[in-house]
């Protein structure tokens, strides 16, 4: 057993190395693809949220100046928490 332990498989250049590398790369690739899909979804979420914010700001600005400030603050706080939460992941 210790004789086998002596083999340090850090950079195997023989046949089996390709397959093992392939298997681990598959796992890595799938996780990356998952992350990529989530990134696309996050971007969409952010875009929709920005759109919603813009619409709300426009609507409240149309109502008048004083209410506009209040809603802009709350909308700003909302987008800030959304940004903070999105950086958590």
């Amino acid at each position: 057993m210790s004789a086998l332990l002596a083999v340090l498989p850090a950079l195997p250049l023989h046949e089996a190395g390709k397959y093992v590398a392939g298997a681990y790369v598959v796992l890595f690739a799938l996780v990356l693809i998952y992350v990529g899909i989530m990134a696309v979804r996050s971007r969409r979420l952010e875009r929709d949220l920005a759109e919603l914010l813009a619409r709300e700001q426009r609507a409240s600005r149309a109502e008048g100046d004083a209410p506009a400030e209040g809603s802009a603050d709350s909308a700003g706080a909302q987008s800030q928490t959304a940004r903070r939460e999105s950086t958590l992941v």
């Binding site: 057993m1 086998l4 332990l5 083999v7 340090l8 498989p9 850090a10 195997p12 023989h14 046949e15 089996a16 190395g17 397959y19 093992v20 392939g22 298997a23 681990y24 598959v26 796992l27 799938l30 996780v31 998952y34 989530m38 979804r41 996050s42 969409r44 979420l45 929709d48 949220l49 759109e51 919603l52 619409r55 709300e56 609507a59 959304a82 939460e85 958590l88 992941v89």
Partner: protein, 260 residues
């Protein structure tokens, strides 16, 4: 709140998987028969086990959904099955790579684990088309739960049946977990733990993202209601088979009156 604890979970996943990788490539001894190729065992078998448990968990969540009619259970069921399907694909690919390395063929019918996985994969691949084919969200969730329970019960039975049917011409090397030297057992367990943590992290991540999306949708609805019917609804960015969670329904009791 789904996002709570996600950071800690992902950090522990990275930690455990790094330890597992280190053990696999720098510590555990080479296996006598298969040599270096055997190291795929530490990624293929944990993937398989976690995937199967995920499918069964999806069935259990579905039972909860049918019992309580709370949408959050359907949600968890969907995400569990969804993630298990991804892990199942990874199992098939890594198993195929291992088969190619061992026997020279990309597919072997003699390996009951691979065959069972193929059947299970084919079954669960119909899960999303099934959901997609039902418009009414409540009925979609209910039918999906019925499917998830049936399929969840099928998974272990399928394994038994396929294993019984496989002719033992080739020695079963790919799945051999019995009488391993303790170094291999330890490495295997650490890899398994890492894979399970990865699964949980990915599930939690998806749940958080979906929940956020649902809250945004609820917010949009509120905004539209306040603004009146003058503003047009935001364009539908493509339909998704994923269940749309209504954020308001999450906190409220199971959905409104069904005459039973």
């Amino acid at each position: 709140m789904y996002g709570k604890g996600l950071r800690a979970l992902s950090i522990s996943t990275v930690a455990v998987m790094s330890v597992a990788l280190g053990l696999v490539f720098f510590w555990v001894p080479l296996e006598a028969e298969q040599g270096f190729l055997q190291k795929i065992f530490y990624v293929h078998v944990p993937l398989a086990i976690v995937s199967l448990c995920g499918f069964v968990a999806g069935g259990i969540f579905a039972i909860q959904h049918l019992r309580t009619r709370e949408q959050k259970w359907d949600f968890r069921s969907y995400v569990a099955i969804h993630t298990s399907l991804i892990f199942g694909v990874a199992t098939l690919i890594t198993g195929s790579i291992w088969a190619k390395g061992s026997w020279g063929h990309w597919w072997v019918w003699d390996e009951p684990t691979l065959v069972s996985f193929l059947i299970v994969f084919l079954l669960y691949a119909t899960y999303q088309p099934l959901r997609f084919a039902i418009e009414d969200p409540e009925r979609q969730a209910r039918y999906a739960s019925v499917f998830a329970v049936t399929a969840g019960a099928f998974v272990p039975l399928n394994f038994v049946a396929v294993r019984a049917s496989t002719a033992y011409v080739h020695p079963r090397v790919l799945g051999a977990t019995s009488n391993l030297p303790w170094q291999m057992s330890l490495t295997f367990l650490v890899s398994l733990l890492g894979m399970a943590l990865l699964f949980t992290t990915l599930c939690k991540y998806e749940l958080t993202a979906k929940h956020t999306r649902a809250q945004l949708r609820a917010l949009m609805r509120l905004a539209e209601r306040r603004a009146g019917a003058s503003t047009s609804a935001p364009p539908q960015r493509g339909r998704s088979a994923a269940p749309s969670l209504h954020a308001t329904a999450m906190t409220a009791n199971p959905s409104e009156g069904r005459a039973r």
